[in-house]
């Protein structure tokens, strides 16, 4: 399905540097934890939205969680051509924050389904680079 000869979609994507800066979040679900009020955030924040503290530390979040609600994408965007019809969901991770992610290797998606993180291809950026990131599959 994916090959270097794939057409490069004409998309207004962020620069390669922007993608590089988001890599910890995309590959390892690194968010932040507030050292004053213990709130956990994803994506990372510089200021805690709960208590306004700037005293935050990075934290690699749990790679497992459960589905809160799901929908199904029938019209993949440019850059995702050829992608099969796929469900996607809000997933609440075991240590609190929620993420929006595509689901792979699942049969039926129901709220409460246990899922685990995997790394999959996201899309080819307009600079030609492939961006990878988290997706979730049924927990094994």
């Amino acid at each position: 399905m994916w090959a270097p000869s794939d057409p490069i979609a004409r998309l207004n994507t962020a620069s390669g540097a922007r993608g590089w800066r988001s890599r910890h979040g995309r590959y390892r679900l690194v968010g932040t934890v507030c050292l004053s009020c213990d709130a956990v955030h994803f994506p990372s924040r510089r200021v805690c939205p709960s208590c306004r503290s700037r005293d935050l530390a990075e934290k690699a979040l749990s790679r497992t969680g459960k589905v809160v609600c799901a929908a199904e994408d029938r019209t993949p965007l440019a850059g995702h051509a050829g992608r099969p019809v796929s469900p996607f969901a809000i997933i609440t991770l075991d240590d609190g924050p929620s993420v929006l992610a595509e689901l792979v290797e699942v049969e039926a998606v129901t709220p409460g389904l246990r899922v685990e993180m995997v790394i999959r291809k996201w899309r080819r950026e307009s600079n030609g680079l492939y961006q990878y990131g988290y997706k979730f599959r049924e927990a094994r």
Binding site: A9, R10, L11, N12, T13, A14, R18, G19, S22, G25, R26, A39, V40, H41, F42, P43, P49, S50, V68, C69, A70, A71, E72, D73, R74, T75, P76, L77, A78, G79, H80, R83, F88, A89, I90, I91, T92, G96, P97, S98, V99, L100, A101, E102, P111, W122, R123, E125, Q131, G133, Y134, K135
Partner: protein, 304 residues
Amino acid sequence: MAVQAGIRMIQSGAHRCVLVAGVEKQSDTTTTADSMLSYVDADFEAPAGFDFVDTMALMHARYLQVHGVPEDAVAAFAVADRWYARRNPVAVDAGRPELTTADVLGSGWVSKPITRAACGRACDGSSAVVLVAAEDAPGAPVIAGIAQATGPNGLAAKFGFPGYDGDIVRALPTALAAESAYRQAGIDAQDIDVAQVHDCFSIMGSLHLEALGVFPAGKAALAVRAGETALDGRCPVNTDGGRIGLGHPTGTTGINVVVESVRQLRREAGERQVRDPEVAVCQSMGGNNATSAVAVLRREPGGA
């Protein structure tokens, strides 16, 4: 928000008369993909393949799940919009036949549970309003209150954000902006005679109506299906056809809702005219339900 900036210019005393214009020319400035991707989170949502139809499909799914509302109730918003739009000569759906909820539900999935006919209609367009201080235009409709509020744009991030009570079924920025605008105007939700809400998808119309307090949480979609937002209903909504029927030229939608409110208050809406409206409320949203502006307009006694 542009209207709010215009009001502040007059209030500050720097200007006496301000023209606020919005323009959208989606057809030649961006690809559809670009415009669809520019609303969602640029680091973790857009590159992962999510556009705003997808994020709003999740709000739709969550609404059905939390409130146990049938799908045809949510679809009824598009039906109501079409009723008004076919009577509005400048709407993209002007003169088109009536829709039924079955038509909406059978129009094909975009992002399940959102169907094609439940989507706002991307188009070009423009609209403008002229603002002056109330004493300079006696009798003209007045903007009695206006406010704007912002929350996180990332859809999943709303779950842990203070004020959201861990969910996405509430349009929190709209609720906060409405509270402030109503306070400035000295009204509450029961006083609204006609409302314009940001129904970029059928579900969003219901979410905003609930946030405006027109209907209680979980009841807006059912109320729309029951005809409470129709011209003879309790609170007519989106009397120009809304984003689904009139069209959604995004760059000017926020001004267009003000234009329609004024038209209603001046009683110039023709076939779509609500009976004797005194208070009109309009609302506009940006991003993933991330920012929202609410304005309260009032007809001056004896005004035109």
